[in-house]
Amino acid sequence: MTQQEALFAYCLRRGDDNLILSHRLSEWCGHGPQLEEDIALTNRALDLIGQARNYLQYAGTVEGKQRSEDDLAYLRAERQFMNVKLVEMPNGDYAHTIARCFLYDAWHLPLQQALMNSADEQLAAIAAKAVKEITYQLKTSGDWMIRFGDGTEESHRRAQAALDELWTYTGELFETDEVDAVLVKAGIVPEMGPIKAAFDAKVDAVLNEATLKRPADGFMMTGGRQGKHTEHLGFMLAEMQYLQRAYPGATW
């Protein structure tokens, strides 16, 4: 695998994670539990869509085949998406949505902080911008975990159920393969070890304050990074890509 191939794959992974999660969050727009929260959640979706666009644009540049952000988002098939399964799971109740955001943010922040030191200037620049957004996202998703965990009996039960269900999808966040190996060697992406440590520390601290139990690290789902997804992704893409597929070559 050349460095260019690895970098292209890496940008797709980062882009797809953000793209698919922002899509899920955008499904809440107009349906949030309180008007103020609706606005906040949409801000989160907008931050993620911005990050996705940065990565997909860069992926197109790295690949060098003139593919735009929209070509990559709208004209790839299910097996070509490289996001983790965690982000494609349906929203579930609000506790599920928040718990997913929290787990994602707790991984995403240390990852992007480390990427600020990337030997690749573009990746470093994308990370520098994203870190500000994710710092706020992690703070607010953590605050909500604490509110739910230490709120009412019902919210505690829902938050714990969400964590228990989503936990098996967190293993994928820390998987590494040849793509990472090539780029780590070149100083372009960070080692996963310290990121996992930061994730563990943050999750433990928040769950402790939330009086929630950290699920045991048992079986972990895998496959997303190789394009082997849940059945949910196909439906999401069918909806998301519908216009581009129905009217090939049209401008919007």
């Binding site: 929260e37 869509i49 009412t152 919210s155 909806e239």
Partner: protein, 313 residues
């Protein structure tokens, strides 16, 4: 003690002198009720209005359009919020106002009971529906009630990109493939008349209009605003090569306005009465969001109470 008649005269003198009425000022009961009714209807329209556009967020044709649409719908939520806040200054809580909507007691703009069937509808909604709304909103920046006027100033500032993004969508479609063109024309055909209805009944049949004008809640009549909207929009349609679906539409040299056909008020009254294509869906969606959110709101309050108690201890 000043009697009510005297107070009413003083109040009207303030209004006539273009002094803004502020929350703690004495105001006639009718003025307060009229405002609560109008502002809350306006707020509900913003919030219910998120739904027909939200219908296309997950199918937006590219990432730029998706981000724009999200930001726009988010603005509508914000506008609903500013307006609910203005209602609260009149002594009616958001809870009460929202309950009236959820229970089907309160009205909102009927336009949002129409479905968004194709992507071009997102263009048409921005261009026509927001365009019509802006006409009203610009007028309301000068409304006599201070908090309402201030909310409207903020809303108008934010709203200005909404109409432009809608017109841009229509313009791109009308320059696109034959199918896209057809989509754009079809959307204009379906949204034109409902947009004209947004200005409300003609002045002769508008129950609240005269009093609202006297109190300077409204500053221009329904028909005046509608005419300005028609004049501007017909020109914009021409620029992008779309045809306004009114065979009677004709420039009138002597009035310097467009003459236009009759609005089908039977359809309007039907939709207002709850028989529009999407009345039930819209209300059901708002109720579901509210009901599903109950435990979230409760949890946040429970946690806030615990935290405050711990801090005090």
């Amino acid at each position: 003690m000043t009697d009510v008649k005297n107070l009413e005269e003083l109040f009207q003198a303030k209004v006539d002198g273009e002094l803004k009425i502020e929350p703690k000022d004495w105001m006639p009961d009718g003025y307060r009720k009229n405002l609560v009714r109008q502002i809350s209807q306006h707020a509900h329209s913003e919030v219910v209005g998120m739904l027909p556009e939200g219908n296309w967020i997950t199918r937006a044709p590219n990432l730029r359009r998706k981000a724009i649409l999200l930001a726009k719908i988010q603005d509508e939520a914000g506008h609903g919020l500013y307006l609910y806040s203005a209602v609260e200054t009149l002594g009616t809580t958001r809870e009460k106002t929202v309950d009236d909507l959820l229970g089907g007691k309160a009205k909102y703009s009927s336009i949002f009971n129409y479905p968004t069937l194709t992507w071009a509808d997102i263009g048409a909604v921005g261009w026509l529906v927001d365009g019509a709304a802006i006409m009203n909103q610009v007028m309301l920046c000068r409304t006599s009630y201070g908090p309402y006027a201030r909310a409207m100033v903020r809303i108008c500032k934010e709203e200005s990109f909404h109409q432009r993004q809608g017109y841009e969508i229509m313009s791109v479609l009308s320059k696109g493939t034959p199918e896209q063109r057809e989509m754009a024309q079809d959307a204009l055909n379906r949204w034109w008349w409902p947009s004209l209805m947004m200005f409300g009944p003609s002045d002769a049949n508008s129950p609240h209009s005269a009093q609202s004008m006297k109190w300077k809640i409204k500053r221009q009549s329904n028909d005046e605003l509608r005419q300005t909207f028609i004049d501007r929009t017909v020109q914009q349609a021409e620029v992008i090569g779309l045809k306004v679906p009114d065979p009677k539409l004709k420039w009138n040299e002597s009035t310097q306005h467009y003459d236009s056909g009759e609005i089908d008020w039977t359809e309007f009254n039907n939709v207002v009465a709850g028989n529009g294509p999407c009345n039930k869906e819209r209300l059901a969606a708002r109720n579901k969001a509210h009901d599903d959110g109950a435990w979230v709101r409760e949890a946040a309050m429970a946690y806030a109470a615990k935290k405050a108690k711990r801090k005090a201890a």
